[in-house]
Each structure stands twice: as structure tokens, then as C-alpha cells.
Amino acid sequence: MTELTMAKAINAGLRAALAADEKVLLMGEDIGTLGGVFRVTEGLKAEFGEGRVLDTPLAESGIVGTAIGLAMRGYRPVCEVQFDGFIYPGFDQITSQLAKLTYRHEGSQSFPVVIRVPYGGHIGAVEHHQESPEAYFAHTAGLRSISPATPHDAYWMIQDAIASNDPVMYFEPKSRYQRRGEVDLENRGAAMHESRVVREGTEVTLVGHGAMVAVLLQAADIAAEEGTSVEVIDLRSLSPIDYEPILASVQKTGRLVVAQEAPGNVSVGSEVAATIAERAFYSLEAPVLRVSGYDTPFPPAKLEGVYLPDADRVLEAVDRSLAY
């Protein structure tokens, strides 16, 4: 066991992947000499050289589009999009190209490209720096989308993403970058697309991903003080979603609250809610409830506490669920 911040854990995972396979390349803006604006790639250019860790021109479509060409030449590029809100100039290359290329090649070629996306709020930044765009990509066939909540998962899941022969969107909850946690460098634990019960309980199930998992655990602690037993599930994979642990939990608790930083309209949380309603109707004692960011642009930093679900908003939904 080693204690690492999430940023250091991802760095260690990238280093392990670079060392294990010489076809792995890192590409992005400021990732080389500077080590990335969040220092996630710190030291990797010095260790592996500029042929493996490429500082690129400032063009997100260019980064993803050239990564596709490199993949056709046998490389396994890992692209960093500097901030969540900067991903849209690369949207066509991700959704119209990368996502569809295995299908377009009728399986004769795979496209093992990873897109790393620091995402989410809680950092008090300006517009385009606190968004949660994961639903766009979870909606797109041909992509896989995952998001770790802990340093341990961050370390292993980045290596899983790079090893996958499919394109993987790897969403990094940037508000958790400097939080420390135990990383077991020997035993990986859950697989890339498994969701996982991170706290057991009996009365209400809470589901979330990324930075929201810490909020849900905090809510569960408060609920326990009030005598309510809450189960918390870390989704980990946003596409495909692993429903089995959620179904098993809901069969036990009969109640489900889904929480996320992203706007609720047509979101990953909506998909979880709809699917559980379809597949576990007779187990439910209350409607599935969602706690989300509002359907507004991400607000100015002084208002982010209004927008981002916190433990109180989650507990208010728990209370509403229990009232049925």
C-alpha cells in the first residue's frame, strides 16, 4: 500500500503504461515541459523523451485527429484535453471519427486512443473550467467512458483505459486531484467497467461517480448519525454502466437517489434512473430521485455552491424518498 494523491496516482499509472508498452504516447497542451497545468504528467517527458510525451499545438481537434492517425500506425495515444470546457473543438474528431472508426473498418482495425478529461467543479474557476460534459460521450456509440473516484481506482483505471483496444474517455474529477488515498500497487480490485458498493446500508441506495462519491459518503455519515442506513455505490463506468450492483442494492433498499454534478437533463443519472425503473420496478418503494447540477450554464464561482449538489441536497432527496 502506498499513499498518493489522485494526480500522483494517475501520473504513476501513466508511467507504468509508458514503461510497459513503447507504443504508448502522451499528447496534449503543456503536458511535456510544464508537466500539465495540473502536473498530472510531471516528469514523464524527462523520463521518456519528447518522442513519447508530445507538447502539441493548441488545437483540440488536431490533437484527437492526429492521435487517430497515430493509432492507425499502431500507436496507443493518450490525449489530454486541458479542461472539460475545452473539449468541444475536438467534438467531431471524438464523436464522428474516433467513436465510429472501428465500425467503419468493420473490425479490421481497432482504435486504442484514450482521452483524459479533467472535469467538474469545486475549484472556483472561470467559465469553461468546471463543467461535467460526460453525457455527450456516454451517449455516443463506440466510446467507453469511465471516471475514478479514488487514487487507487485512478491508478488502475488509467492503465485499463490504455490497455483497452477501444477508445476510452477517462474523466478525472479535478477537485479530487490533491486528495490523498491508499493505492494498492499489487492488487487492482474492480475491473474497468464494474460499479462498486463503497459503503453498505439497508434503507436507501445512493449512486454517483467521480467527485460526487465523496459527497455521497459524507451524506451517508450524516444520515447514520440520524439513524438512517444508506448504501453508496460508485458508478466508476459511465458507458457501459454496470447495473447489477445497483439492481441488487435496490432490491434490498427499495429506494434510489442518483447524484451528479452534471445538469440533470438527458444525463448519465437520467439513464440510471430510467433503467432501474425498467428493471427493478417491483422492488421500488419510492420513485427514483435525481440530484443534479441545474439546467443552466455553470455559474460564476461565488455561486458554484448553489449549482453543485452537496450533502444537504442529497439528504433532502433521501428524506423525500423515505417519505413515500
Binding site: 513503447e22 504516447l25 518522442g51 502539441t56 499545438p57 488545437a59 481537434s61 488536431g62 484527437v64 485527429g65 492526429t66 492521435a67 487517430i68 492517425g69 497515430l70 493509432a71 492507425m72 500506425r73 499502431g74 500507436y75 473543438p89 467531431d92 474528431q93 464522428s96 471519427q97 465510429k100 472501428t102 465500425y103 467503419r104 473498418h105 468493420e106 473490425g107 479490421s108 482495425q109 481497432s110 482504435f111 456509440a141 463506440g142 467507453r144 483497452s164 483496444n165 477501444d166 467497467h193 458507458s239 457501459p240 454502466i241 454496470d242
Partner: protein, 371 residues
Amino acid sequence: MPDAAKPDATTQDPVRLLDEHGARTASDRYDPLIADLDDHALAGLYEDMVLIRRIDAEGMALQRQGELALWPPLLGQEAAQIGLGRALRSDDFVFSSYREHGVAYCRGVAPVDLLRVWRGVSVSGWDPFEAGMASPQVIIGAQALHATGYAMGIQNDRERDPATPDSVAVACFGDGAMSEGDVNEAMVFAATYQAPVVFFCQNNQYAISEPVSLQTRVPLADRPAGFGIPSARVDGNDVLAVTAVVREALERARGGGGPGFIEAVTYRMGPHTTADDPTRYRDPAELELWSARDPIQRLRAHLESRGAFGPELEESVAARADQVAAELRAGCIAMPDPDALEVFADVYAEPHAELDRQRADYARYLGGFVS
């Protein structure tokens, strides 16, 4: 002696080695690059152009008869495409748009495979790695980045292992694509990393209905200089000039000289696709002007002037064209519809639990019908 080919003067006339009557123009710079093109090789280029024109005409006819959903014709662009296609080595790699039937033909793609996408039975026509040519791109200009990335890969491979062949990636696109961000980003990346990629822009004067004047106020070949990329403007209806200019750019890229850009000035004689009606936006006089610059007639006149064109060549090429067209038609009509469950195939390279579930659900749904 002044060089009539005017190689670098991109704001002036394009490089031309055959005039409109097939007479050869001397060029100190370009003649050595095509010195190997003897009567036999020229007859080969003639046959390629006649055959691809016939394949294209058959594609048009098959669409009109309801056998294809759509067809984007290359009529008029044969010299640009065959000149490029025949200048490449088998280990080079082409990333094209949807109109490069002539380039695909040169890469060894079976004519019937050119039709698969347009018949609606598949999203691709061939195995890219067998042909050294990616599946044609529909999003305008997107493939320029893929070509650049592939070229960065060649460069990286060669740095790791100098025995790696000095292959070149080629991006084919049209005048309309010059306005797309991806083409411009591709030129930035290619110049920055000095990647071995050749950008081959067929300026066929129109992006559907929009004339090239709507995309640019300067000749397209003037733009790459701003990216630090050497550029040439060539008469795209002159197969000798296209061959020479492409060979020059390929050699420079192979030798570590970085990317190159070629504007092949040509004309789309037909519609954008079978769904288009060019009479709504094109002056018939313009069509007449370009008919007089026909690339096949020009090469034929040149062969005649060399005493290398006779009834024997004409008849053998015509017979070969008839045969290819008949095989193409039969192959198109015999193409089976895909199986319903193909919808779910190859979306991912590895198993995907939720898609597997949808496939099983659909199979069960299909099984519920009484046969």
C-alpha cells in the same frame, strides 16, 4: 531558357507539361522527374483514365437505375487522381474523401468494392491495410488530421528504427475543405513536427454549389506558405504535370524535408453527387470551356503526337473498359444485403455488456415473428 512550367509561381499559371492539344512543354525542373514515362507507361496512364471514367459512368448509371443510393462522380478529375495514385508506392498511405475512386483504383481496390458504401450494404468498401488507403471520409477535411497523425507515426517509427521504409501519408481533399478547421490544424501539426505528409487538394472549382471564390480570395496554393509548407499549383488535367509535382513532393517528404501541398486545378464535369443539379448554379459556357481541356483527350493527343496511339491500343482499352463495366454491374447486383444483426457488429473491438444485451433483445424480438 525560361522555365515554361513556372514551378513556384503559385499566384501565376499552374505547372503544365502538356498543353491543351497534347503538345509537350519543356521544364528543366520537372522533366527529369518523369523521364521514365515511356510510350508503354503513358499508354498505361491512358488505360487507367479510360477505365476509371468508365467505372464512374457505370456508378452513375447504377444509381439512376436504383441499384445505388447515391454516387459522387469524378468525371473530369481523372488525370489528377490517376497521376497521384500511380506516383505512390505500395507502402504509402492515402486518406481520401469520397470522390477519389481513381486513387482507390490505383491502390488496387476492386471496382465493385467502390460501390459497397453507396449501395448501403456497408460503411466501408475495403480493408485499408490491404490497399494502403483509409475508408473514404465523409466529414469534409477530417482526414487531413488522420493523414498527419499517420505521418507522425512514420516519423516516430523511423526515429526508433532507421530501417523503417520512408513511407509518406497523403491527404486528399477538395477546395471546400480548405475552409475547414481540420485542414488548417493539420497543416499546423504537419509543419510543426515536419511530418512526411502530402496534402493533395483537388480544386474542382465547386463545393456542391459554392464556387471556389467563396472559400478564398487568394489562390489556394498560396496559403500553405503561411504555415511554412512548400506548395505547388498544377494543371490537374495534365497527368504528366500531376505525376511530376506529386513525385517531387513525395521525394522531399521521404528525404526528411517535411510536408508538401499540391493544388491540382481541375473541374468537376458532373454534379456533386447524383442528388445534385448543377444547372441551378453553373454556366453552360463554363462546362464547354472545360470540356475542351479534357484530361483523357489531352493524353491521347500526346500519345498520337509520339506515334504511340493506334487502333490496337484504342480497341484493347475499350474492350477492357467494357469488361470491367460488365463485371462491376454484375458484382453490384449480386451484392447480398447484410444480415440484420450486423447492426451490432464491430461497434467495439472488445465485448460491451449493454450492447450485447441489446443484440440479444433484438434477436429475441426477431424470433417472435411467425415465419
